[in-house]
């Protein structure tokens, strides 16, 4: 076991997969010098300029050329420095890449990975560099979505994404990059589409993703002091979605709280809530609650961002209100 930070885990997964398959190439802005978030450190030195391409600044070109390279038989991993910039390459990401297999009737596959820094997490990156945008991608069938919560997950999910024959977007949370954890030494892959119960509990189910997993675990600790045992589910991937894991948990706890970092309006939590309403209605003893980021652009002031983001106190208050311990007081 080696202790790795989340950012080191990304670099290690890239190295593992690049060593395993010489068709894996890495492209993006500043990746050759290790990347602005230091997630590609050492790869250019180890794999050389044929495998690690520093590109001109054009996300549309990065995504579009990655698609072309995949058609030519490579397995590109393209870095989009900030996931907010999926908006600057949305044609490729929404119209082109996810449609290739479908429109060619399965003649072509699109084994590429788009990855980069996502999310706010109280870092003060503001409206155009701090958004959590998994839900943008979730509106487009044909793209798989992974959003790791820990270094080991970052490692395993990225490796799986690279081996996958469909396009996968890996959303790395920039507020988690410096988190440390023991990671397995041998080949490490976490299959896409399998959620994990990261804390068992009988009183309610907290469904979380990426940074909200840690928030929910901390909230669950605090809830335990109030006599509430919350079960925490780390979804890991939104597509494929492990709905069965959520429903099984709700069958045990009868209460569901979905915690997402993005604004609530059409957040991925709405999909989870809708599935529960349809599939688990008779298991539920209380309304499904969603705790999400505010429906405003993200403020740049860290003090304000902290209020827009989900937080441990908001989750605790939401769950206690749901269980009738207090009137819900936060937004």
């Amino acid at each position: 076991m080696a202790e790795l930070t989340y950012r080191q885990a990304i670099a290690a997964a890239l190295a593992q997969e690049m060593a395993r398959d010489e068709r894996v190439v890495l492209l993006g802005e500043d990746v050759a010098s290790g990347g602005v978030f230091k997630t590609t450190t050492g790869l250019r030195e180890r794999f050389g300029p044929d495998r690690v391409w520093n590109t001109p600044i054009s996300e549309q070109a990065i995504a579009g050329a990655a698609m072309g390279a995949a058609m030519a038989g490579l397995r590109p991993v393209a870095e989009i420095m900030f996931s907010d910039f999926y908006a600057t390459c949305w044609d490729q990401v929404a119209n082109e890449i996810p449609k290739v297999r479908y429109m060619t009737g399965g003649q072509l596959s699109m084994p590429l990975v788009l990855r980069g820094a996502n999310g706010s997490g109280g870092l003060g990156f503001g409206s155009q560099h701090g958004q959590s945008v998994e839900n943008w991608a979730m509106c487009v069938p044909g793209i798989k979505i992974a959003s790791p919560a820990t270094p080991a997950e970052a490692f395993g999910l990225l490796a799986a994404a690279i081996r996958d024959n469909d396009p996968v977007i890996v959303f790395e949370h920039k507020a988690l990059y410096s988190r440390k954890e023991q990671c397995p030494d041998d080949e490490h892959v976490i299959p896409l589409g399998r959620a994990a119960v990261v804390r068992p509990g009988r009183d309610c189910t907290l469904v979380a993703l990426s940074i909200t997993v840690g928030i929910c675990l901390a909230a669950a600790d605090e809830l335990a002091t109030h006599g509430i045992e919350a079960e925490v589910i780390d979804l890991r991937t939104l597509v494929p979605l492990d709905a069965a894991a959520v429903l099984a948990s709700v069958a045990r706890t009868s209460r569901l709280v979905v915690v997402e970092e993005n604004p609530g309006q059409l957040g991925w939590g709405a999909s989870i809530a809708a599935i529960a309403a349809q599939e688990a209605f008779y298991d539920l003893t209380a309304p499904v609650i969603r705790i999400s980021g505010g429906n405003v652009p993200l403020p740049v002031a860290a003090s304000l961002e902290a209020e827009v983001d989900v937080s441990v106190p908001r989750v605790v208050a939401g769950v206690r209100a749901l269980l009738g311990q207090l009137r819900q007081s936060t937004g």
Binding site: S33, I57, S58, T88, G294, V296, L304, G331
Partner: protein, 377 residues
């Protein structure tokens, strides 16, 4: 005014140098250029020198504030003062400017209080100024987007009949790296076919974070304009007089209905990309040393000393003013109020919105609950 006109021979196009327009050499010698005669008084040159010194002082102070934890981040303009002051002082009050995140010198020329710039970097607002008050848009950090905004703005004023001898024009700033963005290339096409009154001012500071110019272009950037159908020229970006002269001429051409110009200001980013960057990871110290010899301030100082236009008192007075400015900027930074929590919900839409109002009211009640707890305690 086309320096790289259609008549340029293939040799010039394939060359890597091209003509560098210069009016003041690095040694501080005044030289003439046939296309850019500059009628400028000694007092005006002294005023430009003062701008350069003050703008550098703002930058130094901001870097210090960041190091001390008072700013989250800062994008230094060190080395690019002449490009920004020269072009900034070429603008008329009605002209509109669209900056990137590095245009502190242009902001200064537009009359913005430097403390306003710090708000973004301290993380208390997305930019504390009204773009219409100074005809200076907010900083744009998403690379290249502002070139399209500038083009549309230029088309707008063109439609409103602002073109003519006392017309208005638009200037948009961007970096060498930005020239790879689709937005920038698309803005070139639009400005060209609509003959929009916009000047594209590219500060080629040789680097886009860790990527050198060769990663963005195989030909000199100013030569790209020709393919889009408008003139492009390269100016010594460390020569404040040349930057002033070429920008004046290009802006006037735009105002008079002659359409866009691309100005490539050939300069150097002497500092890190931002305070979070470490350039020693990717570039050689020798490169910086060679550019230090072309420092934009020193050549003006040398000129003023050599010609006897300024004496020690003048330089001492400018330094003293810079010191005061630094102190004032620091003070306003440290006393900047934190934003009010309920501003989170302001300006999401132009009209009241039920969802936002609901969230605001709940949040206000939540905040009030602390107050009443304190009262009760």
């Amino acid at each position: 005014m086309a320096v790289d006109s259609g008549a340029a021979g293939p040799q010039r196009l394939e060359g890597t140098g091209g003509e560098l327009i210069q009016l003041l050499t690095p040694e501080g010698e005044r030289v003439e250029h046939p296309d850019y005669p500059l009628d400028i008084s000694t007092e005006e040159i002294k005023a430009l020198f003062r701008d350069l010194v003050l703008v550098r002082r703002i930058d130094t102070e901001a870097i210090a504030l960041q190091r001390q934890g008072e700013l989250g981040i800062w994008a230094s303009l060190l080395g690019q003062e002449a490009a920004q002051v020269g072009s900034g002082r070429a603008l008329g009050p009605k002209d509109m400017a669209f900056p990137t995140y590095r245009e502190h010198g242009v902001a200064w020329c537009r009359g913005l209080d430097p403390a306003k710039l710090l708000e973004l970097f301290r993380g208390v607002s997305h930019g504390g100024w009204d773009p219409n008050e100074h005809n200076f848009h907010l900083y744009t950090i998403v690379i290249g987007s502002q070139t399209l905004h500038a083009t549309g703005y230029a088309m707008g004023i063109q439609r409103d009949g602002a073109v003519g001898e006392d017309g208005e024009a638009v200037i948009v700033y961007f970096g060498d790296g930005a020239t790879s963005q689709g937005d920038v290339n698309e803005s070139f096409i639009w400005a060209s076919v609509f003959n929009a009154p916009v000047v594209f001012f590219c500060q080629n500071n040789q680097w886009a974070i860790s990527e050198p110019l060769e990663r963005q272009s195989r030909i000199p950037l100013y030569q790209r304009a020709r393919g889009f159908g408008f003139p492009g020229l390269r100016v010594d970006g460390n020569d404040v007089l040349a930057c002033l002269a070429v920008t004046r001429k290009a802006m006037q051409a735009a105002r008079e209905g002659q359409g866009p110009t691309l100005i490539e200001a050939f300069t150097y980013r002497m500092g890190a990309h931002t305070t979070t960057d470490d350039p020693t990871r990717y570039r050689l110290a020798a490169e910086l040393e060679s550019w230090k010899l072309k420092d934009p301030l020193e050549r003006v100082r040398a000129y003023l000393v050599r010609t006897g236009a300024a004496d020690a008192d003048f330089f001492a007075a400018v330094d003293a003013e810079a010191g005061e400015l630094g102190t004032r900027v620091r003070k306003s930074c440290l006393t900047m109020p934190d934003p009010q929590p309920l501003t989170i919900f302001e300006n999401v839409y132009s009209e009241p919105n039920a969802q936002v109002a609901y969230e605001r009211d709940r949040f206000a009640a939540y905040l009030d609950s602390f107050d009443s707890e304190e009262v009760g305690a």
